[in-house]
Symmetry: C2
């Protein structure tokens, strides 16, 4: 998606460890006009699927998933990062390893809001090692629900998450894919 | 706001400790049609103010603040809950006590995205003791920016946060105010 790619090239900041910061428009300060365009792009990709819920993970996925859920006219559901005090058997729980923070944490979703009748479109801001998306898929499948697909804003194509999940048959679409970092330059995949 | 009040009365669940769960439509599963109506109500209240940013706190404020920012056509900014590894002097930082989780935590916002020229509309899902909103106000004022007002979905009117902040001169508007809990019944303020 050209407008997203332009913003990444113009405003993205590269930090050691192949970290791309896009906090001027995507995950701290948020440009709602750009995100609305991204939501429309996801809608065009997935509009012929049966979608009963849009699901993401707190916090930075929420602003991207909100306009997608509105376009599909279905509820938005966000998985929460567990605090030790709030897990009980009313939740589906999955463990996620965070490479950014070098620890693992549990994500959870209430059993009230996912059922075998659901067909869920997953949305997230980044896909790299695939841990967060794998956790979301696990929550959906624990509920016996269908993963209709996943829409990702920015994929680090040089990391294995996207390839591994596509090989398992999941339909994962990214609006911008990073091929490599060259120093502080971001090299994006040509469409 | 009647549609929000109706949903609270129909779907809100009261738990010990005067906890109201509205996770079927507001802060876990999200009804975007209802939230869009709430955003429009906030827009009608504040539309004649100078607003340059809409600001909230992760995670459950984000879905409410997103459509508000879109209506004002200004950036959305969300304060992050600090992880020990990500605080440095590029952030404004404020300490917040959570009564829900019985601990305090720091919230932060990048100095890049708030300046003395900004006039900020604050949005959050709940107002009770006022700790989170006080933290957001502190971040805005550390930047030398103006607090244009605050829009709250649900206020616990029997707790002191709203009154104390209004006495300090902040313009805080809530779309639904809980007067009391009677057993598992929610008593809402009449408009």
């Amino acid at each position: 998606m050209q407008s997203l790619k332009d913003r990444i090239l113009r405003e993205g900041r590269v930090f050691p460890g192949e970290v791309l910061k896009v906090d001027s428009f995507l995950n701290h300060q948020i440009d709602t006009a750009l995100i609305d365009q991204m939501a429309d792009a996801f809608y065009q990709i997935f509009k012929d699927r049966r979608i009963t819920k849009v699901m993401t993970i707190e916090a930075s996925g929420i602003a991207i998933a909100y306009p997608v859920a509105r376009l599909f006219n279905v509820p938005l559901l966000f998985a929460k990062k567990a605090k030790s005090s709030n897990i009980d058997d009313s939740f589906f729980v999955s463990s996620v390893v965070s490479y950014t923070y070098k620890r693992s944490f549990d994500i959870l979703v209430s059993k009230r809001y996912l059922s075998p009748d659901d067909s869920v479109l997953l949305i997230d801001d980044f896909l790299a090692t695939g841990e967060a998306l794998t956790g979301l898929i696990d929550l959906v499948e624990q509920a016996g629900a269908n993963v209709a697909g996943a829409g990702i804003a920015i994929e680090k194509g040089f990391q294995p998450g996207g390839r591994q999940l596509r090989e398992k048959g999941y339909d994962i679409r990214s609006l911008a894919t990073i091929v490599a970092f060259e120093g502080d330059r971001v090299i994006l995949k040509e469409e």
